[in-house]
């Protein structure tokens, strides 16, 4: 606004003030028209549902019911915290995140460094590593469900390369291996996405930093430790946050592959919420589960934000 007025011939103070006020109002009206559709939709389909998560968690709301929902205090939470399946689901969800976050982020970084070289055909490798990302999770889950069968591709492969010594197991039917099997598949599907993000981070590191450290006689490891790793701080935060949130949201794989079984060993918080809120139509109870999930996500991102802010100050 002030820039606009400098382009014009000098005008008396009072006139300028008047003009700014008037054009400020015009902006407001134009802006209102421009943001209105987005604001209406965000309110209707994001903000109100978030508010409903909090409100319905304290009611006995049913998905389809002639009676209006009524307030029942913390009954949903009492019931939830007494439900062993909930604790198992929470444990599975956290366990999944604890393993998937470092493994997927680390593997993605390795992939990014492998293709961040000047070699012919490197685009081909990048494309192939990225293929599972564009394949839908429903297709990927079905495919791996087949591969994980007792007589499936993975066990055949293990038998062949070990000369029959390794027999494998019913990966998804065995409570001790089911979650791990889903974890491995999830990494396979998602790692290409984070590879690309690491790669764009790697490519913003100025080449002279590496030249300088080579002149100082740095080894490859030292290059990585003191040049690459510190330069990727922002990328790292983004990657950790996005993998954590998508790990907490684990659902489709469970729905397609195991339905939470065997013995609830793959049940997750979101899977349990969907079962309560959709299959059993208990919206109130499902909202209570969603609220726990929401708090989990919020806590993680606050911790992340706090940690990164701290480092910003130091820098």
């Amino acid at each position: 606004m002030t820039q606009t007025s400098t382009l014009e011939p000098p005008v008396p103070e009072s006139a300028l003030g008047h003009r700014q006020r008037r054009s400020g109002r015009t902006h407001g009206r134009t802006a209102a028209w421009l943001v209105a559709p987005a604001v209406v939709l965000v309110v209707l389909f994001i903000l109100i549902p978030i508010a409903l998560t909090f409100a319905l968690a304290f009611t006995n709301a049913k998905l389809i019911s002639p009676q209006p929902a009524s307030f029942i205090g913390i009954d949903n939470f009492t019931r939830l915290f007494q439900d062993p399946v909930f604790w198992k689901s929470l444990r599975n969800t956290i366990l999944f995140a604890v393993f998937v976050v470092p493994l997927q982020a680390g593997f993605a970084l390795v992939l990014a460094m492998l293709i961040n070289v000047k070699v012919r055909g490197v685009n081909f490798f990048r494309t192939v590593y990225f293929l599972p990302v564009v394949t839908s999770i429903v297709v990927v889950s079905m495919l791996w469900q087949f591969m994980y069968q007792p007589d499936g591709l993975i066990n055949s492969f293990l038998r062949t390369i070990s000369g029959g010594a390794v027999q494998g197991t019913d990966w998804l039917g065995n409570p001790t291996t089911a979650l791990g099997a889903i974890l491995l598949m999830s990494i396979w599907q998602g790692v290409g996405f984070h590879m690309v993000i690491w790669l764009s981070g790697l490519q913003t590191i100025p080449g002279d930093l590496y030249e300088a450290s080579s002149l100082d006689g740095a080894s490859n490891w030292q290059n990585f430790r003191y040049v690459t790793w510190p330069s990727l701080r922002q990328t790292r935060t983004f990657i950790l946050v996005t993998i954590t949130i998508s790990a907490f949201s684990l659902f489709a794989q469970i729905q397609v592959m195991t339905q939470g079984g065997p013995l609830d060993s793959t049940s997750t918080v979101v899977f349990q919420a969907v079962r309560a809120g959709f299959a059993q139509q208990q919206t109130g109870y499902a909202s209570a589960i969603s609220l726990v999930f929401f708090v989990l996500v919020l806590a993680v991102s606050l911790v992340q934000r706090y940690l990164t802010r701290d480092k910003d100050v130091q820098k």
Binding site: L41, F45, S200, T204, I245, Q255, V274, V297
Partner: protein
């Protein structure tokens, strides 16, 4: 890392690649072997999917023990595909998914870019608050609000006077048009376009809508591509939501159609054929617009 979205999206990955030191020969060969092994890891399962879709079930299992699992040999036919078309209304599912994804993308581009334009280039009261709300909702995953949203859309009035949006196209499209992440990506991009352009246009008598339509949007190709791709993929792949809101077969999208093959006796060959049918279009799109896809993902991560 302080690069704007504009910067990253416009430069090709190659232009940005730092000069690496020349690795030793051993490392070079090691890297190449690693890259090739990884091609097998990521490529073979998908190859297996496509190849198995051409084989009868008995042969799929019979071939598992050898490299034949990945080669289209033996009793190869399109029988599984014929069976798929007989078993489910595939073209209907496909058309539903195309309509839903296309409308979500197009309407999303318009609504979100308009809002972002106002946020980035206009001064108005509540601008900062609105921006803060948008950024705050970025971290809320859809899964947290899916179930309250399900309850909520069931209570909303529909345009024909009835109550509840379940079992419609609208319920699969409208809730996903406004997107905090899209607004944020557009906002970052618009913010990087010189504001002097607006001033010059105003001097020439242009209104704000003209500036949006004739100046800012035509300069925002990379941002439009990014938002389009990042909206299209989840719309095409959406599963949880249509599973809950659609009961009528005629309204189902392709991902939910997959469940048909697991209900009765599972025929893996047909399942692979159906999966191939809904995957091949996306893989083809990806390979055709590779650079845009990769740049979209890359620019989505520039600012956490």
């Amino acid at each position: 890392m302080s690069d704007t979205l504009a910067h990253v999206a416009e430069t090709t990955p190659k232009a940005h690649r730092p000069e690496q030191q020349h690795p030793g020969r051993g490392r070079r060969i090691g890297g190449l072997i690693g890259r090739i092994l990884l091609v097998l890891v990521f490529g073979l399962p998908l190859l297996f999917l496509l190849v198995s879709s051409l084989k009868p079930d008995t042969q799929i299992f019979g071939d598992l023990t050898s490299v034949r699992a990945f080669v289209p040999v033996g009793d190869i036919s399109l029988n599984n595909y014929t069976a798929v078309f007989n078993r489910v209304p595939f073209w209907r599912f496909l058309m539903n998914s195309i309509v839903i994804a296309a409308l979500t993308v197009v309407l999303g581009l318009i609504v979100n870019s308009m809002a972002a334009f106002a946020l980035a280039r206009l001064k108005f009261r509540g601008r900062k608050v609105l921006l803060a709300v948008i950024i705050a909702t970025l971290i809320v995953p859809f899964e947290t609000l899916a179930l309250p949203l399900l309850w909520w859309v069931n209570k909303l009035p529909y345009y024909d006077g009835s109550i509840g949006w379940l079992d419609t196209y609208e319920v699969q499209i409208i809730p996903f048009i406004a997107n905090a992440f899209s607004i944020y990506l557009f906002y970052q991009y618009f913010d990087s376009i010189p504001k002097e352009l607006d001033e010059a246009a105003i001097v020439d008598g242009a209104g704000w809508f003209t500036i949006y339509r004739k100046i800012v949007m035509p300069l925002s190709g990379p941002a439009i591509a990014t938002v389009a791709i990042l909206t299209f993929l989840p719309a095409w792949n959406s599963y949880l939501w249509p599973l809950m809101v659609v009961q009528t077969e005629e309204l189902r999208p392709v991902q939910v159609g997959m469940d048909y093959f697991k209900q009765l006796n599972t025929s893996w060959g047909q399942l692979m054929a159906y999966a191939s049918l809904i995957t091949i279009p996306i893989l083809a799109l990806f390979i055709a617009f590779q650079r845009s896809f990769i740049n979209s993902i890359a620019s989505s991560g520039v600012k956490g």
